[in-house]
Subunit: 386 residues, 2 copies
């Protein structure tokens, strides 16, 4: 096990009916809240009303800032920073999925500084402070509700970059599995791919070659997420399945599975960010394409790790080489079975586009200091995705 | 999944060489520290010197309070409270295992009130506040380094009671697996039994009958702890094995495996407390005797849960009844294999004593509101331990 520091102070309030507690929770952090949400789905499923009435009951003033798009953009966050400053809000309440929570985090940090919020994402300025953040989760995928990360896209140049800071951990996150009942099959599947890809990149690429405990945690979470997704796709209102996905997705990327595995590069996420940025594709949808392609590219180097996953999760047997190869096929088959496109072609992206994708991705490869991922290497990976 | 709140703000600093950071960490919380430790083993293995020199370098004043016994006692804690008050220490530093950390917690809470510290343990007073606690772990078993619990024995009446409060979470815990190298085989085994019993009581007794995710987490941790213990007993200085035990033991009882399983009674711990209190037996040693006895007693009621453990961990097959029964035997066999006594007789306790043990245990059963555990029931359990 590699040395690590683990510190995750977010308070989780989990369960049906818990959204009614949001007023009292927000009130601990301030009396004037910026309510950040997305394109209005929370107005259709009743969550918005619950939230607003709880806040009002607690005497919290609300400044609304809706309009976060599925791949959240810088311009919208800049607008949120302006409103937060002008209105002198004391706390940010995010109601939504990873996009909304990430936008809320960027606004919370941006409200504390004079420079442009994008400077955080290019690493030219560190995030030292942020307004307190409270979240209510309506899509379970990113675990942003219990970590210090945020991802944002700058429209100009189509740059999808990420940042992380201890200041960005939400103070409280409320997770009610029934909010996932209205999540459609497509987004249920994309979310699951996102959850699995998070974990698997650490599992495949950690500096620690055989991290016994962390491997087993990832495998336990993987089995649970996969089984529960199959159930949730058939029965969208199955509480047990949604609850396992909701809590499992948090544990998958709240630092638990990566503590002790050492530095792990995230090439799949790096390349996928370009798909999201260029084609406004859901992150999970892009990962379903890039992950198998990258695995094919990395087959030889990662043979024992892919083989372990194949044996543990898909019950494969045989020598490492054979099992590793079949693992990629099993993953593709399973992603397809839950309704995901697993090639660029299936997603309607022509193979002529791969040069453009690689040119975009190389910016992030440089920023994340992944020297091995030159444009040519990224092209090679993408060739397996055609 | 049952509704739950999860909040674990303890910061973990994990890895070889990390004890040297204790000075700077303690300094964040105060300039005058009460250094609580045990019977002096930390002076033999060099930890004491490392700690003191780091504290001195950071300019922290040290008031020493050694002498914590393996089953920590109230009188010693009362003494610590007096010293803490008199010297007006600002922070408590515990260097040791669960006994030392639990004593430090009780002192930290006791220093903030005028009433007797035992009032917390009888639940006549709530713990609302405590001095900040920092820990350095030298025995991995209780997970006290990352939870809000503490257990203490009142010598008069031989009462071993426990308490829990959010105020008792350590601010920082430093875990260096090399500190476990000098732990002898006996205590290595007892610690492992303690870790497994913690998890398994929640696994067997949770209100949620089939908590998919939590079951898998417990199974992942169980496999890791068992395998790593077998390695550590053969090679006491195997870093990987000690590291897996050290981090695994924390995750086993820091709230992770119990979040969502609902209320779970802990009858094995309840009865074991009497063994520790009456015979000054190590907690893990007592658990190795009581756990299989209780499982035999509860065989019918808990059949499917025992069977699940047997299939997942011991690879058993057959119908539930048969597997459940064999699981008890496998657990006994494994506890024996790592050097634990699995009956009262093997531990040198005569069967004439069981009445006395049951009479003691019933106090805790009442305090913990475990109505089903009358003296007769406890006697029945203990009869299986003879």
């Amino acid at each position: 096990m590699q040395n690590f520091v683990f510190h995750n102070p977010t308070r989780i309030i989990f369960g049906a009916g818990q959204i009614a507690r949001v007023g009292e929770e927000v009130k601990r952090w301030g009396k004037k809240a910026l309510l950040v949400y997305g394109m209005g789905s929370i107005k259709k499923n009743g969550i918005y009303e619950n939230v607003v009435s709880s806040l009002k009951e607690a005497g919290v003033d609300i400044i609304e800032y809706p309009g976060v798009k599925p791949n959240p953009v810088l311009s919208h966050v800049r607008g949120g920073v302006e409103v937060a400053k002008k209105e002198q809000v004391e706390v940010i309440l995010a109601v939504g999925g990873g996009s909304v929570i990430d936008s809320a985090k960027a606004i919370a940090a941006g409200a504390k500084v004079e420079h442009d919020v994008w400077d955080f994402f290019t690493f030219s300025q560190p995030i030292r402070d942020a307004l307190p953040i409270v979240t209510i989760v309506t899509v379970s995928a990113s675990a942003s509700e219990m970590n210090g990360g945020a991802v944002l896209t700058k429209e100009e140049g189509a740059l999808k970059f990420g940042v992380a800071s201890p200041a960005l951990y939400p103070r409280v996150s409320i997770l009610d599995p029934t909010t996932l009942y209205s999540l459609d099959a497509r987004y249920t599947a994309y979310s699951t791919v996102d959850i699995l890809a998070h974990m698997w990149e650490g599992y495949f690429n950690g500096a620690e070659k055989e991290p016994l405990l962390q491997d087993r945690l990832v495998e336990a979470l993987t089995r649970t997420i996969m089984e529960s997704t199959e159930v949730a796709l058939k029965e969208p209102a199955n509480y047990k399945a949604r609850a396992n996905i909701m809590w499992g997705s948090v544990l998958a990327f709240n630092g638990l599975t990566t503590a002790g595995v050492g530095r792990a590069p995230y090439p799949v996420h790096m390349i996928e960010h370009s798909l999201s940025a260029l084609y406004d594709m859901a992150h999970g949808a892009g990962l379903a394409i890039v992950l198998p392609a990258w695995m094919t590219y990395a087959l030889e180097e990662k043979e024992p790790r892919f083989a372990r996953l194949g044996r543990e999760i898909f019950g494969l047997s045989g020598d490492d080489r054979e099992v590793a190869k079949n693992t990629v096929q099993e993953i593709k088959k399973w992603f397809s079975s839950i309704g995901c496109a697993v090639t660029l072609g299936e997603a309607g992206i022509s193979k002529d586009e791969i040069k453009r994708i690689a040119e975009n991705a190389v910016h992030l490869a440089e920023l994340w200091r992944m020297k091995d991922y030159t444009k040519d290497v990224i092209l090679e990976v993408l060739n397996y995705a055609v």
